[in-house]
Symmetry: D2
């Protein structure tokens, strides 16, 4: 909604363009391909690589090289930066190759599920001097970004409590579940990042609980379908994250921050603005169905920020450090659940 | 708002009336005195007792005996039932005297802060055969009662998560804080009762955390100003209670139940229904200030239910067992906070 | 909702009380009887008169004389003021007798449907020196009163447009329809008064249109079931009143004032604050059913204002002049509809 | 918001593409240029013509011919259809040239302000056999389109009243005002079309009133800044349109339809979904500023519908007849205001 001005302003001629390659043309990759190809005048989509020929053959972009072998991207000197949207287990290789070929990296979350892999990647990124951004897209949602800014401006005084509700409309497919790392690595990780982003503070200790209340399939994967995680921040604030993998009324994404001078809430978004009243009461639409709808703008904005940081040689808005901390938090939550006790987050390896 | 029909229907002649005496004419007592004297045709307010002569002298009720000595109430055979709104430390004595003089009892919360005292009272109530109701008024709030009913009707399928937000506009006075038993006994206790009431289930384990984020006075009392308590229910559901003793935007009282087929939310109530839009945005009133405003109707309805149960010789809607369990939950929460670990609730002494 | 403080403060002793008699114990009368007998410490309900013995016999008030002959009220020197809630055709006689017996008058709307009758009554009121208040209860609704106050404070700058939506849940009974004077005298009259009250201005010209869209019964009475009336105010502002005699979703009562610096809206009131989300969308309760629910507080507050004005010897907040102007507006609207042309309101006889 | 699926689906390869030329690269033209160039895979933007070289030189589209002389568009055989977004006084010429060169036409509103011009254009369109669509973009707003569909499905039974609120944030520039034809031709015309679209009925009679309440500039142009127009539909329903050329709280665009079985409302859209509560109350953002923001999606969707109708050889969703009727309604409203009397709409020349 708020990207209007951009769309229109976007008709104006721009100066330098950044040549981009996208790795992965699956569901996530297509979002970025669409935004880069159409919506960002300062970006030029040069090539898309995907080992799955079918993914490529469906793409309707014109003037873009489609390749099964990602080497074509790494070898193309007109490509200054890559967007990694391939499967999680390929991230390490892609990042290391980008480091070697000096291409800047935008990497979809999660960077990796193991701290060792993350450390290896981030070390190499540092040594190579390339720029690196993690795709925590929700930070670029206009409502959530506004809440962060209002907290920073002191609109609610000292933030004391953050309460995040984050429920998916439906569980992911079994294939995905098996490699997702579990609810704390796959779902709560977004909320951990949001909590840090909005509170301008780090989480010191977590206590996580969860259960299998509706899905035997998820249970069979050794994963949870429902979880609540309690947070204690370093500066003393408290928080809670309320997760479920299924909400029949649609994607439920709310953030509320309570402070000494007030309360900020990011409400859900409904499909339309129509209200219907009848003999049974007052009715409105369901929420937007899932992240592709609810967070559509945020995907555009995150790539715009990436391009901006490249053009202006400024710091990336989401760093490898953010990626690492979110995984440390997921690890702590998992451990807390398994041992049914509060767990301190171990920041010893975070620089 | 919804008591309208009652008010109007209330003009009709009624049959038998229950003679009532009220013990305590302080803030809480005055609410009951007002409702009984004016709003409930089936009740006749016979006498009010308060050792504080000033409390009595301010009362504007007519045709009601005002006495400093509560014996006048216990000795009056026209009084069938008493409402105990005196200080918590007098509850035991008043209940035992009511048992001896065979007067039914409506007792303000908390019954007592010690399990031994509660057991002593409830044993005596049982032996004496009088009827006994606890004043968990929020159960009679039309919105909260509706949510409970809708859960019972299966409107949201199996309830999986309850999330309660309960924040006072301002901390109580120091005098009160000192004898309140602390946030878990004074504030969270209401939310524990609400959680049981709405989930139709018992809480098996709690994990409570809290902090002193804004009030040195509360800290000096050895109490907390902010707390989040996590709940695990016997049937597997999860819950959270989010408390603060200060909310600058007014009393914040929300309950949300998430289930396999949907979500139920009781929203806050604003002072008026006026919206004001200007160059800065869209504005509405603050929430109703505190419990006397927000829960006004519930105080009337709880006494109406008490009177109804007496007239029809039916079971009381809130029992001594409810009072005991709520204190057991507060005790578990306090222990959990002190030891920073989840604590199982000990139901061994609950019949 | 907002009467809370009053209820509680109401327990305090008061000084002088005004002795009151109520004429008429039908639906409207019972609202006043209930409020006077129970809710207003400064009022003492001395007697109720109604020629219909059944109406009286149902009343549950104690210590109040119930009489079939209204003379008992006019002859009772302990009665300082009367509330006229008898049938419209009796108003003139009751007012004239009150003038002769020097009892102040609160009169339900409409005073009368003929300007001559109104003038006769108001002349006599003036000559007798009694105080007189008209029962335009909606002026005392907390939301509507707040809007008026905010307009007066300049919160929206110069008021330019008022838009009133006013729809009943169901048409009145045929008996009532026949004597009501028609939709402009029975329904729109409230909205005319509201428009004047909120705009702090007089209506110069009206254009009214209407139709029979759903009720043959109403059509057979020569009345309309649906109407829209357009208003031009003396200071240049415009307005519209949108009426229907049937709204399946409940009483629809909204007022919106648009001004040079913003917009004020009084929204509808729902039965509870519960929201229910499911696979079909988001649902809330219906509006409060009708005026006895929606405007409950306003009936209490109008009598409180009447009593206050008597105790403090101040001006009445709604005058006979207001009653007369509202009828002049209804007459102009009816004429406009009949002749299908805009009609100037004739204020020549208004002092 | 709801265009999400389109964006993503849009990545898929498409079959035939329609070659398009855009006439006019001003504010309105740029909206269409952006949508056609980027958002609609089935459209190929071949050329843009604008006599103002500066408008062209700012455009950032690639692979598109930019020409000062529109002949280049009419002479280009790869262009199957044109979008007319040039000044209103050029519309006739452009349409006639399109008829001669057999190019389909999408024409921005208003087609023309004179019925003779409209008739001449529509006759030629008919004779030439080209397809013609009018740009009443609001019909393609997801909320308004949903309301129309729900009315058609009988969700509110028989529609009885439509109430449209339509207020601009700020008056247009003086230059535009002078040639706009006045408020009824420039602003209300959209609402007339919306009323017809949603009610599935024609307007039989209008009564319009207006005033100059805040702008001397508008007054000097002989135009109004504020207007209310009352509608009577052929099937008996009633309606009102409430216009102002200035709303400090942002673009105010609401439509409400009342029927025998309920009420449908299209609410306004706020900038974000953030709510802020503090000691003064509850606050939300302003409305989206103006039509480029509020109706952004509708501009995309209308062109998509145009392309779809061309690809599938189906009827255009907005016709020349719609354009003509909207102007007849504006003419009737203007006459009604000038003569201060209701005016029947003259449909004698409408086929």
């Amino acid at each position: 909604m708020t990207c209007t001005c951009y769309y229109l302003g976007g008709m104006d001629k721009v100066g330098r363009k950044i040549g981009l390659g996208v790795l992965g043309a699956g569901r996530q990759g297509r979002i970025h391909i669409n935004n880069i190809a159409r919506m960002i005048p300062q970006a030029k989509l040069v090539a898309v690589a995907d080992p799955n020929r079918e993914n490529l053959s469906r793409l309707g972009v014109e003037g873009v090289r489609l390749c099964e072998d990602s080497s074509e991207i790494f070898n193309d000197s007109s490509i200054e930066a890559i967007v990694i949207a391939s499967s999680t287990d390929s991230h390490e290789e892609m990042i290391l190759r980008a480091c070697r070929t000096k291409k800047h990296v935008f990497c979809e979350k999660p960077l990796a599920l193991q701290i060792e892999v993350i450390d290896r990647c981030l070390d190499e990124v540092k040594n190579s001097g390339i720029k690196f951004m993690m795709g925590f897209n929700r930070r670029f949602d206009p409502s959530l970004a506004k809440i962060r800014a209002m907290v920073a401006e002191g609109k609610i005084g000292r933030p004391e409590i953050i309460a995040i509700t984050s429920r998916d409309p439906n569980p992911p497919h079994l294939e995905y579940l098996k490699v997702s790392g579990g609810i704390f690595f796959d779902t709560t990780v977004h909320d951990f990042d949001m909590a840090r982003y909005i509170m301008h503070d780090e989480i010191d200790e977590v206590y996580a609980t969860g259960n299998n209340l509706f899905s035997d399939e998820i249970k069979a994967c050794g994963d949870l379908d429902t979880a609540i995680t309690l947070l204690k921040f370093k500066k003393g604030a408290l928080g809670s994250i309320n997760n479920s993998r299924r909400a029949v009324y649609g994607f439920d994404q709310r953030v509320e921050v309570f402070g000494s001078k007030g309360l900020l809430t990011a409400h859900n978004v409904k499909e339309t603005h129509v209200e219907h009243k009848d003999g049974n009461g007052c009715h409105m639409d369901k929420h937007l169905y899932f992240f592709t709808e609810r967070y559509q703008e945020s995907y555009l904005y995150e790539i715009m920020h990436f391009i901006d940081a490249l053009l202006n040689n400024t710091e990336m808005p989401v760093t490898g450090r953010d990626a690492k901390i979110s995984v440390l938090l997921s690890m702590a939550a998992k451990k807390s659940f398994e041992e049914n006790r509060p767990v301190k987050v171990d920041y010893s390896s975070v620089s």
